[in-house]
Symmetry: C2
């Protein structure tokens, strides 16, 4: 398909062409996003916790209700719009079923949603990042089990600021070589800061790196999104596209460490070329450390856009989020052209 | 079909045979259920607010988590189990997709659910029964719009104690002749008490009976379930089976009064013979006051059961709730026999 490049086996993605998806965007926040300079997923440090709620409102109702400033990434005087705009464009274009899941939000969106967990995550530096990962996992399994009965595949995205830091926490605790390989939403990737806060959190526990269970890793230095998405993947009766970049590697690693009988060939990643091209990260290496999981990379060619904010994605702004890459992938699978997808995204951006 | 009798046009229900349902049980509570003797939907007045949460836990996980005493109806030393057992039996037998919706619960269940509204209803006597019916309606529309994209029809049940009183409130405010026609969960139907509390609530408003809008009726003397289910009906792209008795008449009346372009031939009621046979109520007359809406009545023949609690349904205990009648109807539409359905219900009751 024009606009798609697959790393790894393309069998799964080929089998999903023309099939019926159900898209779930999993939202959560942690106190980790309040650490200055750690995330770019919001207009300011104070506004980070509003990003998932704002994203949800944009995607469901097409308008921001929880605050005045739209989610965006700002750096050096430039800015780029939240990737929720991309997902919204795809939803409008394709009319696919779409729901928000709350995996633990400090600020609740003014939209209906699937409630998996009501408690936001803590600051990874405390070593008490998530109180109830087992419950989140159990609840998420139920949701995906039920919804997957009525579709051919699930597409699961995420919106959680500082999510690459908490994903780094989980990957590191589980023994992966992930430092300097996680992506980020700003052109400059604060790897040292991410590493520092993750190690501070891990040092608060009595468990050695590599000896953590999946749940202990999340409990200590993770976030609520990871057990939620992992639960949905395990609970789903149908194939799953994990709509995201390096954060979804943490989800795969979480599942791997559970030690359950799980067939990784029924899941794949769907993300944007901006994540894969990110010179400050290494998605393809990270996923290969976990298992043979295909990575489907879409290129919406924002260099062709007249919108400066979208063009800034090429400069390392945003890159991914709110399931944007997987949303574009889903539209491609349904037969829409990458040109039509980009035009719809531009139209939504003009309007919202 | 054996076990089914249709009052009104059978075209819709015939067209749903063998099609793919999605079942949503809509839960809510109001302070109205704390009025002594008003409801039988719980083991005691204090336990009424736990009934929807307990029902949800039974239906989703098959075990009670929120309290120690299972939801049940007790009268004169006899008791009958919650109708959630019936719905659970059908879910296990048919494996249909099933989710709980929270339309406003005081006690939250320990299950994942669709969050439509987080605020329980007040006491109808105050004339301030529901704070935000417009928001509930709007949110519910979104949920049904999305979920109905992935199924052939929706089945929507309810679990809300004292729900016939609040439904009476809405019907009365909208100008219907409903007093002495609402069903109830005990053999003795406290019509005088229901009427009294509804009139007390209506008297607190400045609006005359018959002059209420749908939203004002709910706001004054209704409950959160009514705008939630009405919103789902209006939002759904697919036909809807309203799984309930006289309370669902209030949902239909709410929709009617909205004055929108709505085709009532794409919805119908699905309930139990115990509601229709209820000599203290008149479902068929009530629904005919609203519009031409078919009522599909199932008879699970609990007289054949060895379980005394189920046999007590014939004595006027419980009758309906948690979408039980619609659940049985759905199983019949999927080709299961009424004998197999009853046996599965008995098995679930033994186990839980």
């Amino acid at each position: 398909m024009i606009g798609l490049k697959t790393y790894g086996c393309a069998n799964l993605i080929e089998s999903l062409k023309g099939k019926k998806p159900f898209f779930i965007c999993t939202t959560a926040t942690t106190a980790t996003c309040k650490i200055p300079k750690i995330s770019g997923a919001g207009a300011s440090t104070d506004l980070m916790v509003y990003t998932p709620a704002g994203d949800a409102e944009i995607m469901v109702f097409g308008e921001l209700l929880c605050c005045d400033v739209p989610p965006q990434t700002i750096s050096d005087g430039f800015s780029a719009p939240t990737p929720a705009i991309i997902t919204k464009g795809v939803i409008e274009l394709t009319n696919i079923p779409f729901l928000i899941a709350n995996a633990g939000l400090e600020i609740k969106p003014n939209v209906p949603y699937i409630s998996i967990n009501n408690e936001p995550g803590g600051d990874v530096r405390t070593g008490n990042a998530v109180n109830n990962p087992e419950k989140i996992f159990k609840n998420a399994k139920v949701i995906a089990k039920e919804i997957s009965k009525s579709c051919d595949y699930l597409v699961i995205g995420e919106s959680i600021p500082a999510g690459t830091t908490t994903a780094l926490g989980v990957l590191t605790a589980l023994g992966y070589d992930a430092i300097f390989k996680m992506s980020g939403s700003r052109p400059e990737n604060p790897h040292e800061l991410k590493r520092e806060v993750v190690y501070e959190g891990i040092s608060k526990s009595n468990i050695k790196i590599g000896n953590f269970s999946s749940f202990d890793a999340v409990r200590t230095v993770g976030d609520p999104m990871i057990p939620a998405v992992a639960g949905m993947v395990v609970g789903s009766k149908m194939p799953v596209i994990l709509a995201g970049g390096t954060q979804m590697v943490a989800v795969c690693a979480f599942i791997k460490k559970l030690g359950i009988d799980f067939d990784f060939s029924r899941i794949c990643l769907g993300t944007t070329t901006y994540v894969v091209r990110d010179k400050t990260a290494d998605l393809i290496d990270l996923i290969s450390q976990v298992d043979e999981i295909a990575v489907n990379v879409v290129d919406p060619c924002f260099e062709k856009s007249e919108n400066e904010g979208l063009r800034n994605y090429l400069k390392g702004f945003v890159k991914e989020g709110a399931g944007a890459g997987g949303a574009i992938l889903t539209a491609l699978l349904l037969g829409y052209s990458i040109e039509d997808i980009r035009k719809k995204i531009e139209e939504v951006l003009e309007r919202i």
